[in-house]
């Protein structure tokens, strides 16, 4: 099982469930290391004091903040002093309907796992999981992990309790300054666009989408290992904006209704012939 990143208790009224936090996602990216080109030795990053020009251990490092031009130095111990008191608990503050929580606020997903296998712990965990699942609600709470306090959403997923760290409201930017182009669509344009969307609609089946980048990168690595040449593909040209929106909508709708590729054009047919 994955490593526990935090352990403490989930506090729900007067019921406390001892839990551990483990990641609900895993990193499958192919990672590269920095190497010295001459001898292929793995580069190490080491800390140096800029004024003394000597290597410095992590225990000699403090934190500096620029407060209106004035350097303020804070130590780990001082930072620890402002961590909220109940740092080993996740306090549930309220329950909200899942649909009201826009996913833009969701940051990192974790599983909550019962800590230990005492009957009391397992029953309290299962009770909360069953209750959350039946109510279709999300519990909103806070907890401190490492040196940061997180706002979290806790819900039932696949028979487990999931905890997702959330962004605070002022970490989501306003949409107002985003340019939204020209005129509102006409009713016919909108009806046509919605009809295209409905024709191209399918069930959400995440298993259908593979990380092609990861696969291609692995192939590039294997080719390089065998000293084969690697060709860089030309980027696909950016399509030009359409002159006649209505004609483009109609042609697209004809395509999807006839079971053709939505972007099929007569020019392509002539080009192929």
């Amino acid at each position: 099982m994955a490593r526990a990143l935090w352990s403490g208790s989930l506090s729900f009224g007067l019921v406390n469930v001892p839990v551990q936090v483990v990641s609900a996602v895993r990193d499958l990216d192919l990672h590269f290391h920095q190497l010295h080109s001459k001898d292929k030795a793995r580069i190490e990053q080491r800390r140096f004091c800029a004024s003394e020009d000597i290597e410095v251990g992590i225990e000699e490092v403090a934190h500096s903040y620029d407060l209106d031009g004035k350097q303020v130095i804070v130590t780990d111990e001082e930072l620890a002093s402002v961590q909220p008191r109940k740092t080993r608990t996740i306090d549930i503050e309220t329950f909200v309907p899942l649909a009201e929580l826009d996913p833009i606020y969701f940051d990192h997903p974790y599983f909550l796992v019962p800590a230990g296998d005492s009957e009391g712990t397992l029953r309290a965990y299962r009770l909360l999981e069953r209750t959350m699942d039946a109510s279709e609600r999300v519990a909103i709470g806070r907890f401190v992990m490492r040196t940061k306090e997180y706002l979290t959403a806790i819900r039932a997923r696949d028979g487990a309790l999931e905890l997702t760290t959330m962004l605070f409201h002022d970490e989501v930017r306003p949409t107002k300054p985003i340019p939204t182009g020209g005129k509102k669509p006409t009713k016919t344009q909108l009806d046509n666009a919605v009809a295209i969307i409905e024709e191209l609609s399918t069930e959400w089946e995440p298993e259908r989408y593979e990380d092609c980048y990861r696969e291609r990168l692995m192939k590039v690595i294997q080719r390089k290992r065998k000293r084969q040449t690697i060709e860089v593909p030309k980027p696909e040209a950016e399509p030009a904006p359409v002159d006649d929106l209505m004609a483009a909508l109609k042609a697209s709708l004809d395509n999807v209704k006839a079971g053709r590729d939505a972007r099929f054009t007569k020019d392509e047919e002539t080009a192929k012939a």
Binding site: I73, S135, R173, V194
Partner: protein, 252 residues
């Protein structure tokens, strides 16, 4: 202040091409510090050291290697890594649509706002059609030399683009191994707990929750700058009650 865009390209659906720009939708407000040497307050530099030669290495003498077996690396140059990036550096083809509510939020990774690159009409057409249908468009695009799976949907008056996690990046719940209790929670307990949920229910108001820790850290910095002494505090842990039903009743 006009936001700065981070990507230019075209979203296509059918034969309709929408020239767009991407903008960052979220920003971390976590208080960030610079590392300094505690003794003299001097800046800490992270230097790149070759452990074989025990000396600092210039950035131009560094290559990127993938470890294929212990201590054996395949070195790729920038162009070779680019070869895997895909050819969608300028275009997002939306080839299918799904019910936006059907995508579990666990798949959403990072959010960007999509803006129109010109004053033409297709942007609002796409936005309105996504809003009206309640659907999300699925496509792939390349950003910073890697390809992403993305979902676009209507969010307020703009189109939001979420990069999506791939299914194999989610840890299956079976891997987590959650033991079952010997005796399942009783109906009475589940009903009681349900009441506790109802009693504490509210609607979600994002701005009801402030980052109090961030404020506390900023306050600490201000106090420290005035030369105040900082006291470490004691921390406590709650006791774990064993009588579930009694605890639920008392909470209500």
């Amino acid at each position: 202040m006009a936001p700065r865009s981070i990507w230019n390209g075209t979203i296509t659906f059918g034969l309709v091409n929408v020239p767009v720009k991407l903008y960052t939708a979220t920003e971390s407000k976590t208080v960030h510090f610079h590392e300094v040497h505690a003794r003299d307050g001097a800046k800490i530099e992270h230097r790149r050291i070759c452990p074989k030669e025990d000396k600092e290495i210039d950035y131009t003498d560094i290559v990127r290697g993938f470890e294929v077996e212990p201590d054996k690396y395949v070195v790729l140059d920038k162009d070779e890594i680019k070869a895997a990036a895909g050819d969608r550096g300028k275009v997002v083809h939306i080839t299918e649509f799904v019910d936006a509510q059907e995508i579990d939020p666990v798949f959403f990774e990072k959010t960007y706002f999509v803006g129109s690159r010109d004053d033409a009409d297709p942007y609002r057409l796409l936005h309105e059609a996504l809003r009206k249908s309640g659907r999300a468009g699925i496509g792939r695009f390349t950003f910073h030399d890697r390809e992403y799976l993305a979902a676009i949907r209507a969010l307020d008056d703009v189109i939001a683009l979420h990069t999506l996690r791939f299914h194999d990046e989610l840890v299956p719940v079976d891997d987590v191994d959650i033991a079952s209790p010997g005796k399942a929670p009783s109906k009475a307990e589940i009903e009681m707990a349900g009441k506790l949920v109802s009693a504490n229910e509210s609607s979600f108001e994002a701005d009801a929750f402030d980052d109090s820790y961030r404020e506390a850290v900023l306050d600490l910095i201000k106090r420290k700058s005035k030369g105040e002494a900082i006291d470490p505090m004691e921390q406590e842990e709650p006791a774990h009650g064993d009588d579930l039903l009694a605890a639920l009743k008392a909470s209500l």
